[in-house]
């Protein structure tokens, strides 16, 4: 008999707090990510979204609170250890190896988890985002949209359990956004996706659940319909 288990949270944070001096960037946030879902994190500028995912990915150390990932307490783990455990992070401001060939960029993402077929896997990872023909090009000479896609390819190449995307569609054209949407749909539900996004079309298109942050606190969390209908969210963010 195979027991059917309802998908549990792959990541849960309790009382997560980050203060910068007197500034409460993230204040006592409880947060759960359901395995296999696309979860969007929205909120006005300065709401603490990037800080919040910084705490999850380990770029920043939490002032208080606890984070569990895949059944283990990761609160005190360094960023690189979290990456090895399956949390991939793509930067808000494109961060690739601009002086290295495109191939090396994804190869670095793949070899960090160990691979016997580095070359083939790297080329496959590039094909996935349509950059296969540009493997030998220096990454810094790619068009901006392609650099964005390369960074997503690096995140995917890590074969993460959780992919955190910090404003991935910023600066992308409509056609590139469509490629991105298809990519996200193709990787779920194998990969759980946490998406910081300002483009509400992308959010409404992709997100299974949405969490709204405002002034570092969690304002609401729920399905698209619930968030649309929430009066507090409308007041704070959607301009209702």
């Amino acid at each position: 008999m195979v027991a059917v288990i309802a998908p549990g949270p792959i990541l849960s944070a309790r009382g997560l707090t980050k203060h910068f001096g007197g500034l409460k960037a993230v204040e006592n946030v409880d947060f759960d990510l359901t395995k296999g879902q696309v979860h969007a994190l929205i909120g006005p500028n300065g709401a603490g979204k990037t800080t919040f995912v910084g705490l999850l990915s380990g770029r920043l150390a939490a002032s208080a609170g606890r984070i569990e990932f895949d059944g283990q307490d990761i609160t005190s783990l360094a960023a690189h250890s979290r990456a090895v455990r399956g949390i991939a992070y793509t930067f808000q401001i494109t961060s690739i190896y601009t002086n290295l060939p495109v191939f090396d960029n994804v190869a670095l993402a793949i070899q960090s988890r160990g691979s016997k077929t580095l070359k083939a896997e790297s080329l496959a990872a590039l094909d996935r985002v349509g950059l296969g023909s540009r493997a030998d090009q220096i990454a810094g000479t790619l068009a901006y949209g392609h650099q964005r896609l390369l960074e997503v390819a690096m995140g995917l190449a890590m074969q993460p359990k959780l992919l955190i995307l910090d404003e991935p569609t910023q600066g992308l054209g409509t056609a590139e956004i469509e490629v991105f949407n298809q990519l996200v749909r193709a990787i779920t539900p194998e990969v759980t996706v946490l998406l910081i996004e300002h483009n509400m079309d992308v959010v409404m298109n992709l997100a299974d659940r949405i969490t709204v942050l405002n002034f570092g606190e969690k304002l609401a969390t729920g399905t698209r319909a619930q968030i649309r209908a929430d009066p507090a969210v409308q007041a704070a963010y959607l301009g209702g």
Partner: protein, 311 residues
């Protein structure tokens, strides 16, 4: 890859052939340059490939020099053992320095490594009873040999230097083409990105610095037996700056840059000091020209101009 390997083998072949035609003076010079190039190659692994700007590599060179020299002269161990001791000392001191110094980065790293090297220099002077300080120790000619191989004679000396240089160069080539090499370059290019890809920057940099120390230690150990003298002057700041200059001149982050830089700088000083006592002025002028017209060094500039295959 084939072109790169062919070039490296060609360079080694030229060096092999050169010993039959070189006059004795240049014969000794080239042997010395090859040993110094090994030191610079080690420096390049830390600086050129991993982005660690150290001002303390004299410490690792001196560790090799003194472990071998004192091993022979003071502790009386066999020459072969003393050489191994020298290589190990370079690696061990670099690793120990790295554990502490790599907690810093950038300018702080330069200063901390400089302080470590100064401490090493002062330690050598402090224990002058054994090290003979500035005066140094001349290693007995009889000890500068392993069975029939007499390192004080021209031909075996040249061959030994060439053998060491060949091994160091080929290991360097393999290293930079390896996954470890790629992760070292990743540290130089974008440390934060690398961390988020799952690399522990401290670990990668510590490995790179330790390998760098092994190279410096090997060069120091070889220098002691090939040229028969150890002294505190080899632990001064000058010997931390020299490999930096070689690497900058030849091309940081290129496998052949350290040798090319050592060769050119050595002869630049050698020739200019024949004409003027202000030979350091000539070196300074050459560096200015370099910074203005080829800031990435000679081979770095060639690579930018189209020879992309240069490793």
């Amino acid at each position: 890859m084939k072109r790169a390997l062919a070039l490296h083998i060609a360079v080694l072949a030229v060096l092999f052939a050169a010993q039959f035609v070189l006059p004795p003076y240049h014969h000794t010079n080239i042997a010395r340059i090859m040993v110094l190039a090994v030191f610079a190659m080690g420096y390049n692994i830390a600086f050129g490939y991993t982005g660690l700007l150290s001002l303390g590599h004299a410490l690792f060179f001196a560790a090799g020099l003194y472990a071998t020299g004192l091993g022979i002269e003071v502790w009386g161990v066999p020459t072969a053992v003393a050489l191994i001791l020298g290589v190990a000392a370079g690696g061990a001191i670099a690793a120990a320095t790295g554990v502490l110094a790599l907690r810093t980065g950038g300018v702080s790293f330069m200063i901390v490594t400089l302080m470590f090297a100064q401490t090493g220099y002062l330690t050598i002077l402090y224990y002058g009873e054994y090290t003979r300080g500035d005066e140094g120790i001349v290693i007995a000619r009889t000890a500068r040999a392993i069975s029939n191989l007499d390192f004080s004679a021209d031909t075996p000396r040249y061959f030994t230097a060439l053998a060491l240089f060949s091994i160091a160069l080929l290991v360097n080539l393999v290293l930079v083409r390896s996954r470890l090499g790629r992760s070292m370059i990743a540290m130089r290019e974008n440390e934060e990105r690398s961390r988020m890809l799952g690399y522990d920057p401290f670990r990668v940099k510590l490995i790179a610095l330790s390998i760098s120390g092994l190279y410096a230690g090997a060069a120091g150990a070889a220098y002691a037996v090939l040229f028969g003298y150890i002294g505190a002057s080899f632990a001064t700041i000058q010997y931390s700056i020299l490999p930096l200059l070689y690497v900058l001149l030849g091309g940081a982050g290129t496998t052949l840059g350290p040798f090319l830089g050592a060769l050119l700088m050595f002869y630049l000083i050698d020739i200019s000091s024949g004409y003027t006592t202000a030979h350091l002025f000539v070196v300074g002028a050459a560096l200015l020209v370099l910074v203005l017209f080829a800031p990435k060094g000679i081979l770095g500039a060639l690579r930018e101009k189209g020879a992309k295959w240069l490793p």
